[in-house]
């Protein structure tokens, strides 16, 4: 069995580890910190051109059903959000916009501001009415922690009883474990329950949790909260890495490596002034005017070393790769596609 090291705990790192494990590799995934994946909306903006079936299988799970195709949802501030794949309560099929929406906010909590959102929707010719329900949750406490108990959901269902709109738009309230509660709520109210598209909250965290658990299920060894600080390279091949966690530093050997360390936003690439560089000091970087699109140079999935030669067994994936086409608020699909390409490159196909 071949031994692979994957660095990075976001979409690209978890998907490539999962693919490798499925193909019989022994995989260790080292990741630390909050990945962009967890900051995202948890929806894939664009449809993949590659490995659609693998992505579906990777994301498939019991707890949170998905919907894909041309989808549309409502962002946390009431603007339109279009994507290709999302959790089922986040979006509707494009063209099937609800006739009327009740926008529900919790008093004094900024998670969803019903007046702002309703006005935005009305401006877009969607009939919407703001609705505020009493709440004691302080503005800096996330709602998920307050919506773990049955009573909280009972109370919510009661509050929503009288609403007559076709759909009810809620702030994001659920983690992965509690996703089924949205179905239950829908059953009790008899109306569509929609979750506002929310960045920097539970939807992204759900996706990151799901991805990590799928990788673990496939047999990937996960070293959480640890950082790869150096790669040992010999003759254009990586042979091992230094992994640091707290006071503990250890050396591991590897026959193949995938770098899926994310962009400068999560410190996957070093950002000095406005320039990105390689924290490992081994690989070539393509710079760009916008630090977001700069990153590792690659050839057929393999990273290029600073002498300009492609590595034999180090591939890259996700936000750490340079990409001229990446836009703000998109990149999950690209990360998954890159991961697939990286795995194929390592297998030499």
């Amino acid at each position: 069995m071949s031994y692979a090291l994957v660095v990075g705990n976001g979409a690209a790192g978890t998907f490539s580890s999962w693919l490798l494990a499925k193909r019989g590799w022994e995989v260790t995934l080292v990741g630390r910190g909050t990945p962009s994946t967890a900051l995202s909306t948890g929806c894939l903006r664009s449809g993949p051109n590659l490995c659609r079936a693998e992505i579906s299988e990777f994301l498939n799970n019991e707890k949170m059903p998905w919907a894909s195709g041309q989808r549309e949802g409502i962002s946390k501030i009431g603007t339109s959000y279009r994507c290709w794949m999302s959790p089922s309560h986040s979006t509707w099929k494009e063209g099937e916009t609800p006739k009327s929406i009740a926008v529900v906010g919790l008093d004094g909590h900024p998670s969803l501001l019903p007046r702002v959102v309703s006005a935005m929707l009305n401006g877009r010719k969607i009939k919407a009415t703001p609705f505020t329900i009493p709440s004691q949750v302080p503005s800096d406490v996330p709602l998920t922690s307050s919506f773990r108990k049955d009573e909280a959901w009972e109370g919510l269902a009661e509050e929503l009883q009288g609403l007559s709109a076709e759909a009810i738009l809620l702030p994001s309230l659920v983690g992965l474990q509690d996703y089924h509660r949205l179905d239950q709520l829908e059953g009790r109210c008899g109306r569509n329950v929609l979750e506002a598209i929310t960045p920097l909250g539970s939807p992204g965290q759900r996706l990151a949790d799901l991805m990590l658990s799928k990788a673990a299920e496939a047999g990937v060894t996960i070293w959480d909260g640890r950082k790869v600080t150096a790669l040992d390279v010999e003759n254009d091949a990586a042979i091992g890495a230094t992994v640091v966690g707290g006071m503990d530093a250890r050396h591991i050997s590897a026959e193949a490596v995938i770098l899926a360390t994310g962009g400068p936003l999560v410190d996957g690439l070093v950002l000095k002034e406005r320039d990105v560089s390689d924290p490992l000091g081994k690989f070539r970087i393509v710079r760009s005017k916008f630090p977001l699109t700069g990153g590792y140079d690659s050839l057929n999935g393999m990273l290029i070393n600073i002498d300009g030669r492609p590595m034999v067994n180090v591939a890259g994936a996700g936000d750490c790769l340079s990409s001229g086409s990446r836009e703000y608020g998109s990149g999950l699909t690209e990360a998954l596609e890159n991961a697939y390409r990286a795995v194929r490159a390592l297998e030499g196909t």
Binding site: L39, T41, I77, L113, I197, L271, K272, Y328
Partner: protein
């Protein structure tokens, strides 16, 4: 609608004139096309000059600053931080300049005190150990937004009518007299035509454009200057370079930040405030020569302003002011130049002239009557002091029992926003920011804009998308040169606002 005196421009000068005239019992109306402080009064360094900076080259302006510095400290202590100032020279600076400086300060009556290099380092530990000479002066740090608002409030209580978001767009001149003034009113408060007895043109960098409406000219040198806002306070004193005034000479601690400034280049138009990359590098390089640790600090944003300078403009131009009365239009007085520090003196001179023309004999009272409460009443909490600094006398109208915070960077209470909206002048998110500071912190409104918007919609019913875009666009303008951690913050902001919300933030 008729008025004895129409004042055009709601910067420090215009607001000061309105207050001065109102206190003398003169009927007046002030119109400002944007928000108060839309021009240089909102785009300056916030330094209450001791006069030191101009002592050598511009002694008239230096003496004016020294006198007014003392006056403002006594009438408006709430919006002034008594930081004191240091002038420091480095080995590469011409040593004879310091001697000239000392002599000139004496002549211009600018108080100062010499410190040894060791004493200087003890009182300002982040100073470069290369400092060779240090003079201590009466510089301070002043909040122009709260200063101007206090003038507006005081003018109103004395009977003046003061409106922001009302632009003067045309004038009818008959027989050498402005007989009618045309107004575009964005807030809805006055008729489209005003019939004034006297028109005071206090339009700052726009002074020539306004004069042109009456067929006159007030030739001014327009000069752009850039500033850099650094996160956190890094010095106790205002720190100045002891050399012939040039770029990147001054460090001003202000509220929760430290502001580096300034630069000088010819401006193409009154709103040509764009800050260049070169300015940013220069400001960090030059100020870090005096305080090396500034290199490591996080830059939050940049901003610029345009100085209307007498004559040709540039560093050599006088910082004094002039009042101009074109023979062709007898009832139009234009005033420009000067400093924020000397706004009251300018207002006094203009008001004297206006009263003379109106045949009124009442005297100026603005140097004697307080503009607001005394500073940091002993024993007050930090939050109470902060409120007084921002709102002066109106601080008491904020309900502090409601502890909900809308802007966590600047610790702005929800009830501050409510109080500001109730006062009626704030029409946009940026208007609320200038008054409350919500959005001025390191997240630049990313966190609080929506919550402020929600409150505004509740109270004023404003249109959300244009309001947000206008605000975020304005914030964005100062962020194009961000780097390091602040750039990361900016990327996150764009992921959310541009990418997810699809708002029209510029690329």
């Amino acid at each position: 609608m008729r008025t004895d005196v129409l004042i055009i421009g709601g910067g420090a000068t215009g607001a000061g004139i309105a207050r001065d005239l109102a206190l003398r019992g003169v009927n007046c109306l002030l119109l400002e096309m944007g928000d108060f402080c839309h021009g240089a009064s909102g785009g300056n360094h916030g330094l209450l000059h001791s006069g030191g900076r101009y002592a050598v080259k511009d002694p008239t302006s230096a003496s004016e600053c020294a006198l007014e510095n003392a006056v403002l400290r006594s009438i408006a202590p709430f919006c002034i931080e008594d930081t004191g100032g240091l002038f420091v020279s480095l080995p590469e600076d011409d040593p004879s300049f310091a001697d000239t400086f000392v002599g000139s300060c004496r002549k211009a009556n600018v108080p100062f005190e010499e410190l040894t290099a060791k004493e200087a380092l003890r009182s300002e530990p982040e100073l470069s150990s290369r400092v060779t000479r240090c003079l201590k002066v009466n510089d301070g740090s002043i909040d122009p937004f709260s200063l101007v608002q206090a003038n507006v409030d005081d003018a109103r209580s004395a009977g003046a009518k003061v409106l922001n978001h009302c632009a003067v767009t045309g004038m009818t001149v008959e027989n050498g007299t402005v007989v009618e003034v045309e107004v575009r009113d964005r807030r809805g408060g006055i008729p489209a035509s005003i019939v004034p007895e006297i028109v005071v043109n206090a339009a700052g960098a726009w002074v020539d454009e306004v004069a042109k409406l009456a067929g006159c000219r007030v030739p001014m040198g327009l000069d752009q200057g850039s500033m850099l806002v650094m996160d956190g306070r890094h010095c106790r004193y205002v720190v100045n370079r002891l050399r012939s005034p040039s770029n990147g000479d001054i460090i001003v601690p202000n509220h929760t930040s430290t502001i580096l400034g300034t630069t000088s280049r010819p401006a193409g138009a009154p709103n040509d405030v764009t800050v260049s990359r070169e300015d940013v590098d220069l400001l960090v390089r030059e100020t870090a020569a005096m305080m090396p640790s500034l290199r490591e600090r996080r830059t939050i944003r940049t901003y610029g302003g345009v100085r209307p300078l007498l004559g040709g403009g540039g560093r050599g131009a006088s910082r004094s002011f002039a009042m101009l009365n074109d023979e062709r239009v007898g009832n139009l007085i234009s005033v420009a130049g000067g400093k924020l520090t000397t706004y009251r003196l300018m207002a006094e001179k203009v008001s004297d002239r206006v009263c003379e023309m109106l045949g009124s004999s009442s005297n100026c009272r603005t140097h004697k009557e307080a503009l607001g409460p005394p500073a940091n009443g002993k024993g007050d909490s930090i939050s109470a002091v902060r409120l007084v600094r921002k709102y002066g006398r109106s601080a008491s109208s904020v309900d502090t029992t409601d502890a909900r915070v809308v802007c966590s960077c600047e610790q702005v209470l929800r009830s501050e926003v409510t109080a500001v909206l109730k006062a009626g002048d704030a029409l946009t998110l940026a208007d609320v920011m200038r008054r409350t500071r919500a959005g001025m912190g390191y997240c630049q409104g990313f966190d609080c804009a929506l919550s402020v918007l929600e409150i505004m919609m509740e109270q004023n019913g404003i249109d959300p998308v244009p309001s947000l875009n206008e605000f975020l666009g304005e914030r964005e303008r100062g962020l194009e040169h961000t780097s390091g951690d602040q750039l990361r913050q900016e990327m996150l902001r764009r992921h959310v606002l541009n990418g997810v919300y699809g708002l029209g933030v510029r690329e």
